[in-house]
């Protein structure tokens, strides 16, 4: 009831005129806090933080549910309130605005390590690297879940608490909105000049006539009306609260959609060399991250064949070597045995099959080798994908493993250089396109250890059981060979192919997420652009027999501003109506320039110019007035 912040001993007219709590204009506008969570402080009041505390305490009785000021909530003492009392207290704490604010902060702060530390989900190899370079620290961080922040229990706890708090706030508010939409606007306060927007003027019309035409004007502007003896109350802008609720509900919907994707969706990766195919089965995928409720049978059974891949690069200028376009020509069938379709897969242009989508996310070179072992048998003939280790020349590293060669297993590690160039005896690649594709290999023989021990990366060689062969480290051009010593065999570099890496994703929650996102935005715009506002009109006869019309207006939630103009427009229109009906019955000739207006203009000695900027005419006056002002009245 302290919206006008009247000193306790001076009972405000507004309150006196409105005996039932519900109809107190000032109190009600409170429900429409600008941002979702209800709070006990009133915009119109404060500027100084010190001022709020008592205001907050005062407001308690009128904010029975929803987000309230936790600090002002009485804490149950001892066990006097019992379990229910404590639960109620806990619930109030949780659904208080302060708690929501703290949880929001925690959500932001908790996300920070997720962006600064490598994450299991997106970059597992960096996490492994971190473990090997900082073993002790990494173990502590790992125990805290900091390498998987967005899947960590504590992170889930933050957002679950936040959303619980949100539900505890939104549900009561929805009920209240329904309630207030059913009830008529509150009665007009007694003294309209106390309201933040007010104007008063005299008219010879009878009070009833004046009120009637004012009510008609307000009704035409689709205000909801309530009339009483000598007053009209009008309210508009319920959509603001609708938007606010929609925004918060939609956030909840977004969380549910993300959860759906986490349960029923999957992500997978597959590297595919030109000229080869794969089927979308768990065994054929390089990496497979299923949702919690996804089994091997849930994968869409499509097959993809990569026919051709091309990449083009900027060939001159400052940005030379920067990629300009990637294009993969593929054929696919929805299930094995179905007819094949052609498709041009490109970045930003995925293939969609049965709801699953296939993305082109990377590319590289796969040099081709033919390896003959000591017995003269061709034991390997094919392309080996090498991974790029830098971007300007696309130098790529890889390993060739032939464990079954006899008499000894053979292994090769090396680099592929798309545009090889000798820079002072060191081989480099000057361009990502294959202008001069060469490989440089180091040869090993021995036991590759592939049938025992931990699984190895296909791009590197575990040289523990191997010995390096004395072969001159001469780079090979296409067609050139290395003859291994001791009759171990021959390796011939026969050419190269390109490979692409494909990401396959399936997320059944994404449509719901999209609609939730649209609802979030719609709710946000509604709650920011619509203002809930009340306009009151009082007409009474003064001692001299004239009718005095008082107009008052207030808004609690004018986030985007503009009520000052709307109120001025309404006031102008209503006074104009009153004037027009006067003109119809009496002689015209009203002089709108009141005597005191001339006075006002004059008293500014320096004239109206040079007064830019702050001060009396500042439009920001539009909003709530000062607390001092309200308090003093």
């Amino acid at each position: 009831m302290t919206w006008l912040r009247t000193p306790p001993d001076a009972k405000p007219d507004a309150q006196a005129a409105t005996p039932e709590g519900r109809s107190d204009a000032a109190v009600d506008v409170q429900d429409v806090t600008p941002e979702g969570h209800r709070d006990s402080v009133v915009d119109i009041q404060d500027v100084t933080p010190e001022g709020h505390r008592d205001a907050a305490a005062d407001m308690q009785d009128v904010t029975p549910e929803g987000h309230r000021d936790a600090a002002a909530t009485p804490r149950p003492t001892g066990l006097s309130l019992g379990v229910v009392g404590w639960l109620r207290w806990g619930w109030r704490q949780l659904t208080s605005m302060r708690t929501a604010l703290v949880l929001l902060f925690l959500l932001a702060a908790g996300s920070v390590p997720g962006s600064l530390l490598p994450q299991d989900g997106t970059n597992p190899s960096s996490v492994a690297q971190y473990y090997s370079s900082h073993p002790v620290l990494a173990r502590i961080l790992g125990d805290l879940g900091l390498f998987n922040v967005f899947g960590a229990p504590w992170f889930a706890a933050i957002y679950i608490l936040l959303f619980t708090s949100l539900v505890g706030c939104v549900l009561p508010r929805t009920l209240r909105l329904v309630g207030s939409a059913r009830q008529p606007p509150p009665r007009a306060p007694g003294n309209l000049s106390r309201l933040p927007f007010a104007v008063s003027y005299a008219t010879p019309l009878a009070p009833e006539t004046a009120l009637e035409s004012a009510a008609k004007a307000l009704s035409a502007k689709r205000f909801r009306l309530r009339t009483g003896p000598g007053w009209v109350a009008a309210e508009k802008g319920y959509l603001r609260e609708v938007g606010n609720l929609l925004f918060h509900m939609a956030l909840l919907g977004l969380l549910v959609s993300i959860g759906l994707g986490g349960l029923f969706g999957y992500k997978a990766d597959r590297l595919l060399v030109t000229g080869t195919s794969f089927a979308n089965t768990v065994t054929a995928l390089d990496e497979f991250h299923p949702g919690r409720l996804v089994g091997p049978d849930n994968l869409q059974p499509f097959t993809v064949t990569l026919d051709h891949f091309s990449a083009s690069y900027v060939t001159s200028g400052a940005l030379v070597g920067q990629p300009a376009a990637f294009n993969a020509r593929i054929r696919y069938s929805a299930s094995p045995g179905d007819s094949m379709h052609s498709y041009d897969l490109a970045v930003n242009h995925p293939l969609i099959v049965d709801g699953a989508r296939v993305f082109l996310i990377g590319h590289g070179y796969a040099p081709e080798f033919r390896i003959t072992d000591g017995t003269g048998r061709v034991i390997f003939d094919g392309a080996v994908p090498f991974v790029p280790v830098e971007t300007t020349g696309l130098v790529s590293e890889g390993a060739v493993k032939v464990p079954d060669a006899s008499p000894k297993g053979l292994g090769f590690v090396g680099v592929f250089l798309p545009s090889a160039i000798d820079v002072g005896g060191k081989l480099e690649s000057y361009f990502p396109a294959p202008n001069n594709p060469m490989v440089s290999l180091v040869s090993y023989a021995g036991n590759l250890g592939m049938n025992s021990g931990p699984s190895q990366s296909v791009y590197s060689l575990d040289t523990a059981g191997l010995h390096e062969l004395a072969v001159s480290p001469r780079p090979l051009a296409i067609g050139q060979s290395i003859k291994l010593p001791n009759g171990l065999g021959t390796l011939t570099y026969t050419g190269y192919r390109q490979w692409v890496s494909l990401a396959i994703t399936y997320d059944p929650g994404q449509t719901a997420a999209l609609w939730s996102g649209i609802a979030v935005l719609a709710g946000l715009l509604l709650s920011f652009m619509v203002r809930r506002r009340r306009v009151f009109v009082r007409a009474s006869t003064d001692e001299t027999g004239n009718t005095i019309v008082d107009l008052g207006g207030l808004t609690r939630s004018d986030a985007a501003g503009g009520f000052e103009d709307e109120f001025a427009g309404l006031a102008t229109e209503i006074s104009g109506l009153h004037q027009a009906s006067t003109d119809a019955s009496q002689s015209p000739g009203p002089d709108l320039e009141a005597p005191d207006r001339t006075d006002r203009t004059d008293r500014e000695g320096s004239g109206p110019s040079h007064r830019e900027g702050s001060g009396p005419s500042d439009p920001e006056q539009s909003g709530p007035p000062d607390p001092e002002q309200s308090a003093g009245e």
């Binding site: 927007f197 940005l319 986030a559 009141a594 006002r600 008293r603 109206p608 001060g615 009396p616």
Partner: protein, 384 residues
């Protein structure tokens, strides 16, 4: 299509010109503070109270000055108001407040139309006022600078045949362009000319750094950026960043003015406060910052969502906690904190302003540190 380096060079010339003109505009705003014939708030309050005294010829019931203003004005209405006429506007002028800046509102230049005559008398509704010479010069310079700036951005786009916000340099030139345009709009709508010095100083600094430190020659986009979602996502992010930029400048001005106002209220020495005394009351700045954020927040939300949709099209997942995404999310949450804090007891005013600045700091951190130093899917800055 090849890069048209001639156009790119002209674009650079335009942008350099813009920096120079902005610097001159900044100077003009500063001159307005130094030489503009503007009444100080205290002076205005004094004027207002004399006016009130003049007006209250009849009843003067209560001793409180506010009450005097109210009653005085009302008595003028009944006594001086011509009975046969309507619309003798007699409502209360906003009474002088503690800060003294909220003087009566009925001080528009005479000769207004009848409607605005009433408008001038409405409590809470501001009047129009004219601007001084230095401000006129500054606004003209700002507009000229904006024209050069805009030409520079457009020519850059023409030279590379695409939207000119594909790398860090282009992003910064575009976002400062948005900031200046938005600021011009705010300045004219809210008559907030006093912000010119601060916004221009920040713009000159940022644009100057863009031209010297992070300049990137014009070139085509990497394949990942070749999508119409670039136009949607990055445009929204650029717009929102420009708006938040202005909000942050207002927030900083607020903190200084608020501190000054507290010192004055506490009777403590205030040091050099020449400019601060001429700025509006802190709550005016606070509200302006809030409205600016309210304008930018939905754009940011939309930009993040558009980014999510694009990520879904390009990378197969609408949200993958890429570092840049994470910081866009953090920024969103911090600005949401700001919006909520402004409605929470004990968090309004300075605390809320700090939160707002923290939000902008997160945004800057994302632009300057994350996208340059932390590898991720968003590493397009074009700087090596």
């Amino acid at each position: 299509m090849p890069v048209n380096s001639g156009l790119a060079d002209i674009s650079n010339d335009f942008l350099l010109t813009a920096v120079v003109i902005y610097a001159l505009a900044m100077l003009a705003y500063a001159c307005d503070f130094a030489y503009g014939k503007k009444k100080l708030p205290a002076l205005r309050a004094a004027k207002a109270s004399t006016a009130v005294a003049k007006a209250s010829t009849a009843v003067a019931a209560e001793p409180a000055p506010d009450e005097v203003a109210l009653v005085g004005a009302k008595s003028t209405a009944t006594a001086g108001g011509i009975p046969s006429t309507v619309g003798t506007p007699s409502a209360v002028g906003t009474p002088p407040t503690g800060g003294g800046a909220g003087a009566a509102s009925g001080d528009s230049p005479s000769g207004d139309a009848a409607g605005s005559g009433l408008r001038g008398a409405i409590k809470g509704v501001p009047d129009r006022e004219s601007v001084g010479r230095w401000v006129t010069i500054a606004v003209v310079l700002t507009s000229l600078g904006l024209a050069a700036h805009l030409s520079g951005v457009v020519l850059r786009g023409l030279s590379v045949h695409r939207l000119p916000w594909g790398d860090m340099y282009e992003f910064v030139t575009a976002l400062t362009c948005v900031a200046v345009a938005f600021f011009l709009g705010v300045m004219i709508r809210y008559r907030a000319y006093y912000l010119g010095l601060f916004v221009m100083a920040a713009v000159v600094l940022v644009l100057g750094l863009a031209e010297t430190v992070i300049y990137t020659p014009a070139g085509p986009l990497v394949p990942a950026l070749q999508s119409y979602w670039l136009a949607i996502h990055v445009t929204a992010m650029t717009l929102a960043t420009g708006v938040f930029f202005v909000a942050a400048v207002i927030g900083i001005a607020y903190l200084f003015v608020d501190r000054h106002a507290r010192r004055v209220a506490a009777g403590r020495p205030t040091g050099s406060d020449g400019i601060l005394r001429r700025l509006p009351r802190p709550e005016v700045l606070d509200r302006l910052a809030y409205r600016t954020v309210v304008f930018g927040f939905p754009i940011w939300t939309f930009g993040v969502m558009a980014g999510a949709i694009w990520a879904d099209r390009a990378w197969g997942s609408y949200w993958s906690w890429d570092p840049t995404e994470t910081w866009a999310f953090i920024t969103w949450v911090v600005y949401a904190c700001f919006l909520h804090a402004r409605a929470t007891a004990g968090w309004r005013g300075r605390r809320a302003a700090y939160i707002q600045l923290a939000g902008f700091a997160c945004l800057l951190f994302n632009v300057l540190v994350i996208s340059l130093l932390v590898p991720g899917l968003h590493s397009y800055a074009g700087l090596t």
